[in-house]
């Protein structure tokens, strides 16, 4: 009984001793193994981090398409306008970090020097974020309280022979309002905006005699992780007079594009994962194969096959775990570099990345060690030691 125990103990000590020695003596090989596992793990960590974050990131990029949510008065109601305060309160229901930009709009017909045009009252700060695609010659109106300036559409500017810096008289015949405004910028969108003149909301309210009112509001909301239909329903429940809805044209396309990008990233991540794992495997196979002599020697002095396999696997596991740990750190840093280079923002860390990296890396290393060792243990010690 005691003998068996002692034998087991020496065996255990022997196992650790060989493990330790092997790691210490063969520094060169150990560092190469460590290094290649680390690179593999780093690449897998970096790509999977980017993959799991890509929807959130691209969803934000896709907001370049402008408004994807509409809030307006219900068509059944008598008036076409709602109180600005109500609209602003409903905009505030969107979580701040999800809201890219929003602006209320009010429209009316005014007379300019050379003819009639549609006047739109907007919140310029919100509009600029809402519609990054506007091609503006001159400048955006940057402050909300600027009541001496306006922006006009390109077609309108051409037809009325107006340039940036000119001033234009805005006349509303219904209430006799008249004011001269300086043109700060000329906007081109290719759509209805090209034929409109833009002033800030408060001024538009006074010109049109509808202070504190707005026709509708346009919002740009990050849809990833937000249930936009539920949000619309909540808004309509809180303000029964309002009609809140996602703009199908944009939200439908956003979904399609996001799916494509996610699919592309997924398949690329899987391919890179496979190839990197295989690369690590070939390196490990090369390293273990060259130790056939060592295996022969171990067998000659009495180690059985199982011991040898266990010995090699333990060795690989030790190096592998260290390599994966280092690889994860490097990979996470690499993911940040990727995130900053492409999206200009950091990639968030997700727990799911840990198993995604750990499992294939370790499995591949063990498999890569087991294959050549299994082949090697079948050899006859004398043959190997004689160098054949």
């Amino acid at each position: 009984m005691a003998d068996v125990k002692a034998a087991n103990m020496t065996r255990g000590r022997m196992f650790l001793l060989i493990l330790f020695k092997s790691l210490k003596v063969r520094k060169n090989r150990v560092s190469i193994t460590f290094f290649s596992i680390m690179i593999g793990a780093a690449i897998i960590t970096a790509l999977s981090s980017v993959y799991f974050d890509i929807s959130a990131k691209m969803s934000r990029e896709l907001r370049a398409y402008g408004a994807n949510f509409f809030i307006g008065q219900k068509t059944t109601s008598a008036t076409r306008t709602a109180d600005t305060a109500v609209i602003e309160e409903s905009i505030a229901m969107v979580p701040a970090e999800k809201l890219i930009g929003a602006s209320p709009y009010i429209y009316g017909v005014v007379r300019l020097d050379l003819g009639n045009a549609v006047l739109a009252g907007v919140d310029f700060a919100g509009l600029k974020k809402l519609s990054p695609y506007w091609q503006v010659e001159g400048k955006w109106i940057s402050v909300d309280f600027d009541e001496g300036s306006c922006m006009i559409g390109k077609t309108l500017a051409k037809n009325m022979e107006l340039k940036v810096g000119d001033s234009v008289n805005v006349i509303r015949s219904e209430n006799g309002f008249q004011k001269s405004l300086v043109i700060k910028g000329i906007a081109e969108t290719g759509q209805a905006e090209d034929e409109q003149i833009f002033v800030n909301l408060a001024l538009a309210g006074r010109i049109l005699g509808q202070e504190g009112k707005a026709n509708h509001a346009m919002l740009s909301i990050v849809t990833e992780g937000t249930d936009i239909d539920a949000l619309a329903a909540r808004m309509e429940a809180k303000f029964p007079g309002l009609d809140a809805k996602p703009i199908r044209k944009v939200s439908h396309s956003d979904g399609r594009i996001l799916d494509k990008i996610k699919g592309l990233m997924a398949i690329i991540a899987v391919i890179i994962l496979t190839v990197t794992t295989l690369c690590v495997m070939t390196t490990l196979i090369a390293i273990v194969s060259e130790r056939t002599r060592e295996i022969g020697l171990m067998k000659a002095i009495g180690a059985d096959d199982r011991d040898i396999v266990r010995q090699f696997l333990a060795e690989t596991l030790t190096i592998g775990l260290a390599g994966v740990a280092a690889g994860m750190v490097v990979g996470f840093v690499l993911a940040q570099v990727l995130g900053l280079a492409v999206f200009g923002s950091l990639i968030s860390f997700r727990m799911i990345v840990l198993p995604v990296t750990l499992i294939p890396s370790i499995a591949a290393s063990l498999l890569a060690a087991a294959l050549p060792v299994r082949m090697a243990v079948r050899v006859v010690p004398a043959q190997v030691l004689k160098d054949e």
Binding site: R29, I257, T276
Partner: protein, 430 residues
């Protein structure tokens, strides 16, 4: 002697060489696939982006400013300028004709609906029609081609079905219309009312939701405006805007002749609108910047993402190959010791290793290209449902890269190994 050694090294150490080649094949196929995809991803995503709808709108050249607010026109223009429908096929005759995905003409009239005082907009358009254009007898046009986001609950009317309409979702709710209902519509001054069957309810998220949409020919007849359309939406594949196109947009006279040629022969949205204006007189072609500019921004992002990922994979596979090279060379210390003991100069040892590495690099690189080309087609088919264009420049680039990496990976261990003393190695101390 040198070739003998080289051959021996491949024949005797075939396992080692096979392993090295396999690694290079893997790495090279990865790089090939990623390079192929990153070169083609712009075109592919540009096609996907077409789901945001048309990016160019054609309107008659006119001095009139529209006074339309929320679908209600405050200045109905009598005798307005219109576009001739038959001229539209010229869109497919421009320099960038192949980049025109489709177009849809629109004619919007205000109609009187029997049993209601309020007038409703009636939009005539091609739903899904094939026309003969230069180089293509069956070119598909219509809103179903360019606006894939239009959804119909019910059925789409057939293009030649003059007795069917789609009712916009808002309009249907307001007037309590359902698929199968019959409506009587009257437009223009002709005073003739015609009965239409509502085939389906249309949701678009746009102004069409409060209008009737009918096949173009039916609306033209109803409004007695045969052969005329008011505006056209064109969907074109474009490349993102850059410095040159912005300069051209400010004024095309500012470009010198070389810049002008380059601008004209690049699929910028501004170049395409310019060419359409050249082809069809009396129209103004305007880019819809909401689609055109945003598309550029998003595609640039995706391309950048792919390039960065390719570089990352490239570095990783480079390091992977180098570490393999290190092991395959280090394990030959004994052999090299013997060679040196027999009188080989360091130079010759280098030459042997480097030519071995180059050979492995060429074989691995070529095989990798083949595997990678297959891989990129798999990606293309599974994500975009179409083949990825194979770019021939990938092959030389890839082989060169594989050889360079293999050489670089061999250089360091070769140096280490030639520094060893033959006696020590042969004795087995190192």
């Amino acid at each position: 002697m040198f070739f003998l050694m080289l051959r021996q090294s491949f024949v005797k150490g075939w396992r080692r060489k096979a392993l090295a080649t396999a690694t290079i094949v893997l790495a090279a196929s990865l790089i090939t696939a990623l390079m192929n995809i990153s070169i083609d991803v712009g075109d592919k995503m540009s096609k996907e982006m077409k789901s945001y709808g048309a990016n160019i709108s054609l309107v008659p050249k006119s001095e009139n400013i529209s006074l339309e607010i929320g679908g209600v026109d405050y200045n109905p223009l009598e005798g307005q300028v219109l576009i001739e429908e038959k001229e539209l096929t010229k869109i497919k005759e421009i320099f960038w004709a192949n980049n025109i995905v489709g177009y849809a003409p629109f004619l919007k009239v205000s109609a009187e609906m029997a049993g209601s005082a309020k007038r409703v907009p009636l939009i005539g358009t091609n739903l899904d029609k094939t026309v003969a254009v230069a180089g293509d007898d069956e070119f598909r046009i219509g809103v179903r081609v360019i606006n894939p986001y239009w959804q119909v609950a019910g059925e789409w009317p057939a293009e030649d079905d003059a007795g069917s309409v789609l009712a916009g979702a808002l309009l249907a709710r307001e007037r309590n219309l359902q698929a199968g209902d019959r409506v009587s519509l009257k437009a223009g001054t002709s005073g003739l009312a015609e009965t239409f069957t509502v085939k389906g309810i249309l949701s678009t998220g746009g102004a069409e939701e409060s209008a009737f949409v009918a096949p173009l020919a039916a609306v033209q007849r109803l409004a007695s405006m045969e052969g005329k359309v008011q505006s056209v939406s064109v969907s074109a594949l474009t490349v993102p805007e850059d410095k040159l196109s912005r300069k051209a947009r400010r004024s095309s006279e500012a470009l010198d002749s070389l810049e002008y040629d380059r601008w004209y022969c690049t699929a910028y949205v501004s170049a395409i609108t310019h060419q359409i204006e050249e082809a069809i007189p009396n129209i103004a072609a305007r880019p819809i910047w909401q689609v055109a500019a945003s598309e550029g921004a998003v595609i640039n992002k995706i391309q950048l993402l792919m390039i960065v990922v390719t570089i990352a994979a490239f570095i990783a596979s480079g390091l992977g190959i180098s570490s393999l090279m290190v092991t395959t060379i280090m394990e030959r210390a004994k052999e090299i010791g013997l060679t040196k003991a027999l009188g080989a100069a360091d130079r010759e040892v280098y030459l042997l290793f480097l030519s071995e590495a180059a050979l492995v690099g060429v074989i691995g690189g070529l095989l990798g290209c083949a595997v990678g080309a297959g891989l990129s087609q798999v990606i293309g088919l599974s994500i975009f449902g179409s083949l990825v264009a194979f770019n021939w420049v990938v092959i030389p680039v890839n082989v060169a890269i594989s050889v360079l990496i293999a050489l670089a990976g061999s250089l360091m261990p070769s140096r280490l190994i030639t520094r060893l003393y033959p006696a020590e190695v042969l004795h087995g101390r190192r």
